[in-house]
């Protein structure tokens, strides 16, 4: 069997997630204490309910931490080859969301979506530009008709849509 390099064991990630849960629970408890987790003059205070939620999180994740250390499997959590595939999708997605809306130059949803789909078709699918143009334009027209015209739900638009008279 081919041995692929693993990115951490299941056990390691069990521990990491349990610790993150513990921190999250601690934040909830701390903020609830700040708001007051006691019985006020007019009933339970704002932090009363969340306080116990936070306590439950801490207790449950402490148990998960113990179980993770004691019984966590040493199998690979994810292999490098798999993670690479995931990142190939995840990183462009982040860029895509950043293109739609950022403090400097937002493009709206349509143009970044076309670029995003075109990127995948070109670099993963190795399609010709004619096919790419047909698919991207087709989907965008479909979305435009469905959202803006049919169901009257406005989507974010950028300078190019504005040039066509849609704002």
């Amino acid at each position: 069997m081919q041995q692929e390099k693993a990115v951490g064991s299941v056990r390691l990630w069990e521990v990491v997630v349990a610790v993150l849960f513990l921190i999250f629970g601690a934040i909830v408890v701390w903020d609830s204490r700040r708001l007051g987790a006691q019985w006020g003059s007019d009933g339970p205070q704002a932090g009363y309910f969340p306080f116990y939620i936070g306590v439950f999180i801490c207790v449950a994740s402490a148990m998960n931490l113990i179980q993770g250390i004691a019984k966590g499997s040493r199998d690979a959590f994810v292999e490098w080859g798999q993670l690479r595939l995931i990142l190939i999708v995840l990183v462009p997605t982040l860029v895509y969301v950043a293109l739609i809306d950022n403090p400097w130059y937002s493009l709206g949803i349509y143009v970044p979506s076309m670029v995003f789909i075109a990127f995948f078709m070109r670099f993963l699918g190795k399609y010709g530009w004619a096919k790419i143009a047909a698919v991207t334009l087709g989907t965008m027209v479909a979305f435009f008709v469905m959202f803006e015209i049919w169901f009257k739900v406005p989507l974010p638009k950028g300078p190019i849509e504005a040039a066509f008279g849609f704002a």
């Binding site: 009933g43 309910f49 936070g54």
Partner: protein, 510 residues
């Protein structure tokens, strides 16, 4: 019979051309959603929910909106079976058990029979559940009209304890995930005191976390990331479904009536008590395997092995709407999304809905009958078309699904922050899935968090902080006891196993 009369009124509402058209559109969209990887019942409905915002403003529009959304749900339930049988990829978690016998049947060249059996038994399961909803929900609603805050809190408690008791994985992971949902639900302005909770000075957190975003991220993006690990291609069996195969299979199906009845019963029970469609399908498959004469041959391609999980999954998925309608407590993530829709349209789910909006309730129930009939016809006639969707190359389908998720997340509140949150929830969903943290409890806690807290606070106000209010009368006491039993079920069953463990050898020898 009052119910029959109400139901006829409901049919009058549902049987307009506009509503029938929405039904058809919903079913087709739903099957497509069910077939596509990464899109499923819950996040599909969540993404399309914003489309109904302007529709629901018109008179009678809320009924049309719920018909559209619930039909998407029925479609997704049907669609999951197609990918399980043809591609060995369960499109939905509840169709995992369908792959056990469905895919081998397809390999033997009997894909048509497997599909017909799956669709027909889905239909039967749904029909049983809708009949149950028709006759049981008015009774439950009438009963629930007398509920006060303590009763409601005990019902919420039952819902959440059921998750802990029924979960197959670690109960502590279920609790951690669920409590995280509650904590996220508490973020934002506290409705009672007006104080800011856990916003830490960030303005975007004032509104809190919307569960629709969580659903789209956790189930949509998370699922896509998980699919990516398996590689970028789908390989499948050819689908051909002609009338002759359908009729032949229908002739065979009545033989499995016992399995059908048992599976429908299991499904309805698991749907009403929030266990959900997925465990129902496994349980029903397991029972059928144990009780059938051909039990040993299960897994090699038995029609009965398709009938059992599909009937149960559809019955559970449908009956999950019963507590949603009558008590405002959804039994599954998709029911939770539908409940969220109701609240956005300005309807208050719960027993009063039956009194105040009979048109809406009975229109919906009538549409369940019609929608499932429409669904059965659509899937039986259009299987090749739906199977063709999975042959669209991955490099096209994946970015399109991601774009749809992004648009869906944006349109909920017209907020870009939500799109970022969606991506974050997506990564979280991926890690949770890999480590067996269940997602459904998180989503349900996020939906019900505020209302559970409100009913808890009101109860505490009523009793001046005395916990004994949850044992104040027989009704609350029973529900609370049941909840605690379920909560400690993992421990109890461990105890039973220990006791049995000592006796097991003697049983084996017999």
């Amino acid at each position: 019979m009052q119910e029959i009369q109400n139901l006829l009124g409901g049919f009058a509402v549902a049987l307009s051309w506009f509503n029938l058209m929405l039904m058809l559109a919903g079913i087709v969209l739903g099957v497509i959603i069910g077939v596509l990887p990464g899109l499923g019942g819950a996040n599909g409905v969540a993404i399309l929910l914003p489309l109904t915002f302007s529709m629901a403003q018109q008179p009678g529009g809320a009924t049309s909106a719920i018909i559209l959304l619930s039909c998407i749900y029925w479609g997704a339930l049907f669609g999951g079976a197609i990918t399980s049988i043809l591609f060995n990829i369960p499109g939905e978690p509840w169709s995992v058990a369908t792959t056990f016998d469905g895919y081998p049947l397809g390999q033997k060249g009997r894909a048509g029979a497997a599909l017909t059996a799956a669709f027909t038994s889905s239909f039967v399961g749904a029909l049983v559940a809708v009949l149950l909803i028709t006759f049981l929900s008015p009774i439950v609603a009438r009963f629930a009209l007398r509920f006060g805050p303590p009763e409601y809190f005990s019902v919420y408690l039952l819902t959440f304890c059921a998750f802990v008791g029924m979960s197959k994985g670690s109960p502590f992971k279920t609790i951690a995930s669920m409590m995280m949902g509650f904590a996220l639900a508490a973020v934002g302005i506290d409705t009672v005191t007006g104080q800011l909770r856990m916003t830490f000075g960030f303005e975007v957190l004032l509104k809190g976390f919307d569960f629709l975003i969580a659903v789209i991220g956790l189930f949509g993006i998370g699922e896509i990331l998980l699919t990516l690990e398996e590689g970028l291609e789908f390989k499948g069996t050819q689908a051909k479904l002609n009338m002759r195969v359908v009729l032949e299979t229908w002739k065979e199906l009545p033989r499995y009536w016992k399995t059908s009845i048992r599976s429908a019963a299991v499904g309805c029970m698991m749907g009403i008590v929030p266990g959900g469609a997925t465990p129902a399908s496994f349980m029903s498959y397991g029972l059928a395997k144990k009780m059938s004469r051909d039990g040993a041959k299960f897994g090699t391609g038995m029609v009965e092995g398709v009938v059992a999980p599909e009937t149960a999954a559809h019955a559970a998925g449908t009956s999950a709407l019963l507590p949603m309608l009558t008590l405002g407590v959804p039994g599954s993530p998709t029911a939770a999304v539908l409940l969220g829709g109701l609240m956005i349209w300005g309807l208050q789910p719960g027993p009063l809905l039956f009194v105040e909006k009979p048109d809406f309730v009975w229109g919906l129930i009538a549409s369940m009958y019609l929608g499932n009939i429409v669904g059965l016809i659509v899937v039986l006639t259009c299987v090749p078309f739906f199977a063709a969707i999975l042959r669209v190359p991955f490099s096209i389908i994946a970015p399109v699904i991601l774009v749809i998720c992004a648009i869906g997340a944006y349109t909920v509140h017209n907020s870009m922050f939500d799109v970022w949150l969606m991506v974050l929830f997506g990564v979280m969903g991926y890690v949770f899935k890999k480590l067996d943290y269940p997602l459904a409890p998180l989503v349900l806690a996020l939906v019900l968090g505020d209302r559970a807290e409100d009913s808890f606070r009101q109860s505490m106000l009523l009793s001046q902080g005395d916990m004994r209010i949850f044992y104040a009368n027989g009704l609350v006491g029973t529900i609370t006891t049941l909840s605690l039993l379920l909560l400690f079920w993992p421990l109890i069953s461990m105890g039973i196993d220990l006791l049995r463990g000592r006796r097991a050898p003697t049983i084996d020898k017999e």
